[in-house]
């Protein structure tokens, strides 16, 4: 990833609407591949997307999107030929059929009538809309609508895909399907996917890089693997069996550790070691069954909440121990008790 030039590069970009400063000096190089764009509501993500689509002109600063500069009027239109956009809302006209919608939009982008037909069926196959593609859209389920929205964004085979909340409102199966498609597009088809989602879990599973925005600025960016990479001096272990025996065996083997909830503990290592064979040995000695073992990692959610200044989370799946609650309100006193109860 490091070698390739960035696909989108913004330099001190400012966008003002009257008195409102929607973007307040955004400097970011978005690498090629699948990138997550995160931020709470009102962080400036929508403004950013509109800028990338050439729908808005930046007030100040430089922007370069796949070689186009949206300050020039001709570039503003041209940039849309290389960008595919999947909007968030329910934006489909109910009286059309899927084929009709996708091919019309493809032709507007510049496909010939024949190409538009070929491509429409191609992308509808890709998102697995079968015979339904000939039916009117008012009979579509949410999942089908979302996939159709993805298909229309793909019809002209754009280099950049902007996906706005693509898994919104989907049930688990539909969501998994959508994520498989996004993952495929970003990692196998070589598309530059920019994914906006409130479901950080989805971003984590499909994106290699994330950009976190808050209050019109980029407050954090980096590879997902680095952010959630984990601590090579701390291991988290889940086990089954008598905790006292395990604790004793670990102590005998010279491991410092602390318990974290039921049947889970964190082991602190003096020096980074390449394997956990000694821990398994201690477990074997104490007749303990280890059910999972890994470095202590943060989830993207924890990284995100920390970055936007929300108090330390005790996590979606992995409770972190001992971090005092910074904020008021919710966490008074009950921060750590809840997860293990």
């Amino acid at each position: 990833m490091s070698g390739a030039p960035p696909i989108i590069s913004l330099d001190k970009l400012v966008k003002r609407f009257g008195k409102v400063q929607a973007l307040d000096g955004v400097t970011v190089d978005v690498p090629q591949g699948a990138v997550g764009l995160l931020g709470p509501n009102g962080a400036g993500k929508t403004t950013m997307i509109k800028l990338l689509l050439g729908l808005l002109v930046p007030t100040k600063g430089k922007a370069n999107i796949a070689g186009f500069r949206p300050k020039k009027r001709s570039h503003r239109l041209a940039v849309r030929r290389v960008v595919g956009y999947m909007p968030e809302g329910d934006c489909l006209l109910p009286d059309m059929s899927a084929v009709e919608l996708v091919s019309t939009l493809g032709r507007i982008t510049g496909l010939t009538r024949e190409d538009a037909m070929t491509r429409s069926h191609e992308v509808l196959d890709y998102v697995e809309l079968e015979e339904a593609r000939y039916r009117k859209l008012d009979q579509y389920s949410t999942g089908m609508k979302q996939r159709l929205k993805l298909a229309q964004a793909l019809v002209h085979d754009p280099k950049i895909l902007l996906l706005d909340e693509p898994t919104n409102g989907l049930d688990p199966k539909g969501r998994r399907h959508m994520l498989t498609l996004i993952d495929d597009l970003g990692r196998k088809q070589g598309k530059n996917v920019l994914l906006c989602s409130h479901l950080l879990h989805d971003v984590e599973s499909t994106c290699d890089y994330v950009v976190v925005m808050n209050k019109g600025r980029v407050i954090q960016q980096g590879a997902v693997a680095d952010m959630t990479g984990g601590d090579n001096l701390r291991l988290v272990v889940s086990y089954e069996g008598a905790s006292e025996d395990f604790a004793r065996a670990l102590g005998d083997a010279g491991f410092r550790h602390e318990s974290r909830g039921e049947r889970e503990l964190v082991i602190e290592l003096e020096t980074a070691v390449d394997d956990a064979d000694d821990i398994f040995a201690a477990a074997a000695q104490a007749r303990i069954a280890i059910t999972s073992l890994d470095r202590v990692r943060s989830t993207l959610e924890e990284v995100f909440l920390k970055a936007v200044g929300e108090h330390e989370s005790h996590g979606a799946l992995a409770p972190t121990n001992g971090a005092p609650a910074k904020g008021g309100g919710f966490d008074d006193g009950s921060n750590n008790g809840a997860a293990s109860a």
Binding site: K173, R175, H198, D277, A281, A289, D294, F330, A338
Partner: protein, 307 residues
């Protein structure tokens, strides 16, 4: 364990369309996740619980009472349905207070409770503004505030997190945990399974109006014995580890990743595998550095059951 909701052969049809069919389930205190695909009958079940609709067949008891048209019971239940029904011309505070007034609270009490409910959903700043100007997430939270403002014992929430941003999601999850700590029972439906799982182990899974599974995710997974459990490991010498694992007769398949580190096995008896692995690893010294079960979670259970 006390019983909060008890349904026996519960069914509800809309004409010929099935909403819920032959559901027998017992829900205890704490947080319970109600999961299932779109149109599975989750909302129908919730409406039956709060007594909005009458069962076509079978019976349901909530907190020991029959819920249909039971006003006394209604005061003990908080219900937050999915529909975005709010009065745009009121402020958030007025909206919540107006419902409390309807429920019989005095003016001052209603206002005080409305304020504290709005604070709990982190809308204290916006509670004196008109609902019409709220964002989607704020409207959602206002409805939640309305459903938790009175003295309830059971909270029913239908997809409370849809459309919320990560910060708001985090806060709402915290709120549910907190309610549970206060001794309330919570039944919540969601499509985001890992969030459900972060709240609770106890789930009710329905599909096409039928009950597919109930109980803790861990137990349910154990019952799905025809799906061998997958275990993923990373090791310095995965081939030696694989060879050793092959000797277990409950291990059915072994797959080595291309990166030369990862190894995935399938076992019919994951308990024995975990029991035996420490000794194996200690003797083998193959540099085992991580261990996880990718299909032990709710996502996998859902996948196996619903397909």
């Amino acid at each position: 364990m006390s019983v909060i909701i008890e349904a026996k052969e519960l069914a509800r049809w809309y004409g010929e369309v099935v909403g819920l069919n032959d559901l027998t389930v017992t829900i205890g205190p704490g947080i319970t996740g109600l999961v299932g695909p779109n149109g599975a009958g989750k909302s129908t079940f919730m409406k039956l619980i709060v007594g909005e609709i009458r069962p076509s067949r079978g019976s349901i008891q909530v907190l020991g009472h029959v819920p249909f048209a039971n006003r006394a019971l209604y005061a003990q239940i908080g219900f937050c349905p999915q529909q975005d029904a709010l009065y745009d011309h009121m402020t958030g505070r007025q909206f919540v207070a107006s419902f409390l007034r309807l429920a019989g609270f005095g003016r001052q009490e209603a206002d005080a409770r409305a304020v504290s409910a709005m604070e709990r959903v982190h809308l204290a700043d916006a509670m004196n503004r008109k609902v019409g100007g709220y964002s989607k997430g704020m409207r959602q939270r206002t409805r939640l505030a309305q459903s938790i403002a009175h003295d309830f014992e059971l909270l029913i929430v239908d997809e409370p997190l849809t459309g919320l941003d990560p910060v708001a999601r985090h806060r709402m999850l915290e709120l549910f945990r907190q309610l549970k700590d206060e001794g309330k029972a919570v039944l919540l439906s969601s499509h985001v399974l890992h969030e459900v799982e972060s709240l609770t182990e106890e789930i009710v899974l329905i599909h096409r109006g039928r009950l597919l599974a109930q109980g803790s995710v861990r137990e349910v997974r154990k019952l799905l014995s025809h799906h061998p459990r997958r275990v993923r490991m990373r090791a310095r010498e995965p081939r030696r580890l694989a060879e050793a694992c092959l000797r277990f007769d409950h291990v059915g398949a072994i797959h080595l990743d291309e990166d030369g580190e990862g190894i995935a096995i399938e076992t019919r008896d994951v308990g024995t595998f975990f029991d035996e692995l420490p000794l194996l690893a200690a003797e083998l010294r193959a540099g085992l550095r991580s261990l996880e079960s990718p299909d032990a979670n709710l996502e996998a259970v859902f996948d196996y059951l619903v397909g």
